[in-house]
Symmetry: C2
Subunit: 342 residues, 2 copies
DNA sequence: TTGTACGCGTTATCAA
DNA sequence: TTGATAACGCGTACAA
């Protein structure tokens, strides 16, 4: 440890010489090969430590043919400021990296937003053993690009618009049911869903369906307040709230298919004098951080983020190793805050 | 394009054979070497495209000695849920990756939180040409680890407690001055700073100093409401607000050294019946997303995130290439929302 | 302008 | 249990 603190190129040959063994013995000793005797291994380890030796990963990978790396592609909206990326995706990124790390893999992260920088040939270049694509459903060009990856590409994704890609998703059906039942239990009856049944967002569709199903099995008629497309989510929520208020449709609760929409609606309704949660209850979906700061704080359905990363990684490793994955639905839970009455 | 869509291992020799040239010609043609004649280059490119050839990065790097990769280490608080990471850091991560990409570098991202997984020997292992460390100041063990990297390690960082590391930071002094002047201009006089002058958070110190300076040059006495250490930021802010309210110290405005503290204080004061922004004005620092959702929305000082990533990368590349960097202070701007009166 | 030949630092195979 | 030796696939002097 003392002395040799500078970065100098030191190879396994140097270690071999210092330990008085052959280079291949060094390789085996450090790789934990059981055929190496304990005394020899000790000598090698000691020499390696003294020389501050570290394996050159490029050489190792060249030889092995595997990289021990998973590529993570974050799809953003085109021309979107990184600051405006839904923090939900960042949490997912974090938990994905953590899950990969737990499985002994590193993560090569790239942010991609436009056709000129779409790129997914990590396996061909031997930069990674597989790829996880995380992104907003709205960047359809990106999904078109990744849908067409060559056969043999190992990958999983979060946010894909279609079921023909190797998706992992929240348990949207259960979540929406959970949300709707929560509103019913709290005494709300005229529950409107803010969202879209025809959105390319598969997730939103599923959430609407879960809501509709729960309504019907309570003997109530589902009502959908459609959002306008092409706007920011908060704005969609705000406008939907305006439309709803001005339509004359009676309502005493709102289930929004995502938290950003819920927050937009909450703000608008508050401004219009609806008292929340007494007159109108609101529940969202996603469990974003900003929900804790609204007035009142937003009740929401929160996916298990950590599980999301874990499932993405496990699904991917299953493909790489040709084994079976463990599931693609991420469990959700109800987080009760102040926007639904006690 | 047709046919060869499956991932098969194809080397430069295969391309060479297909194009009727030597392997080295392929290498040169694809690398853009000017000595190759245009017709030959065309033939090679065509063959490469047809075979779906991609360079094996491991072999290329082994040969070259450089990786074209920058490592990004995200330091988290120990045992912290990834979901609770300040979104500010994620924005920084995103802009850092983007900036690296703009300079032709890839990013190898890892999340590290505890001594058993601290690791920064990317250069020794030839996994990256340098390293960017981003993290909360509070994980002192992590900073102790990275402070001691071997000589020759190329790195820059955001969030370091000390000046002896290669830091990049917000222009805290200007920001705090900007915030304080804004409060003064809006007619507030009894301005209290919530924060700490002795915190290991260098950033917080600088912000307090900027505030104090601005107060003095307005002929006013700075007042510091010290936060308790070891708590979550919002809770620190909340408790500081309680202490302030109960101390009897007269105040009509608060400058909090970070948005989370500001939000905690805002919530507490609102609960106690202080009307914001009329009776008390509040301004924070960081420009976090949740600030837009509080009631009233939080006025804040927002660093230029994109610039932050750019400076981190530029400083690092300067070290790698032995050139001069372009600066280490990230400019900030005032974002006026509803928590300060018009 | 192009081809030949070598080496980057490992891991894996085969003998001993 | 260990050592010699052969790849892995590319980039690059040097020669032609």
């Amino acid at each position: 440890m003392a002395g040799e603190r500078k970065i100098i190129r030191v190879t396994s040959f140097d270690v071999a010489e210092a330990a008085g063994v052959s280079q291949s013995t060094v390789s085996r000793a450090l790789a934990g090969d059981t055929s190496i005797s304990e005394p020899t291994r000790q000598r090698v380890m000691e020499a390696a430590r003294r020389l501050n030796y570290q394996v050159d990963e490029n050489a190792a990978r060249l030889r092995r043919g595997r990289t021990g790396t998973l590529a993570v592609v974050m799809i953003c909206r085109e021309a979107q400021d990184r600051k405006d990326i839904n923090p939900f995706y960042f949490s997912l990124l974090g938990s994905t990296c953590a899950a990969a790390s737990a499985k002994g893999y590193e993560t090569l992260v790239s942010f991609q937003d436009a056709p000129e920088n779409f790129w997914g040939h990590f396996q061909e270049r031997r930069k990674a053993d597989g790829m996880i694509v995380i992104g907003t459903t709205t960047n359809t060009k990106a999904w078109d690009y990744f849908r067409d990856m060559p056969e043999g590409t190992h990958w999983t994704c979060w946010g894909s618009p279609d079921n023909d890609m190797p998706w992992v998703r929240s348990d949207n059906l259960s979540g929406a049911t959970l949300a709707t039942r929560h509103l019913l239990v709290r005494g709300y009856r005229q529950i409107v869903c803010i969202g879209s049944a025809t959105s390319p967002q598969r997730q939103f569709q599923e959430r609407y369906e879960g809501y509709a199903e729960a309504m019907r099995s309570a003997g109530l008629e589902p009502v959908l307040q459609q959002v306008e497309s092409g706007l920011a989510r908060e704005e969609q929520g705000r406008r939907a709230a305006i439309a709803l208020a001005e339509s004359g449709t009676p309502f005493d609760a709102i289930f929004a298919v995502c938290d950003d929409m819920a927050l937009g609606a909450l703000k608008e309704l508050t401004a219009r004098g609806y008292s929340i949660p007494d007159k109108v209850g609101i529940i969202g979906f996603d469990g974003i951080r900003a929900g804790a700061w609204s007035t009142p704080p937003l009740t929401s359905i929160e996916p298990d983020f950590q599980m999301a990363g874990t499932l993405l990684v496990e699904q991917l490793l299953a493909k790489i190793n040709g084994t079976e994955g463990s599931g693609r639905r991420v469990p959700v839970r109800l987080v009760i805050r102040g926007s639904t009455r006690a």
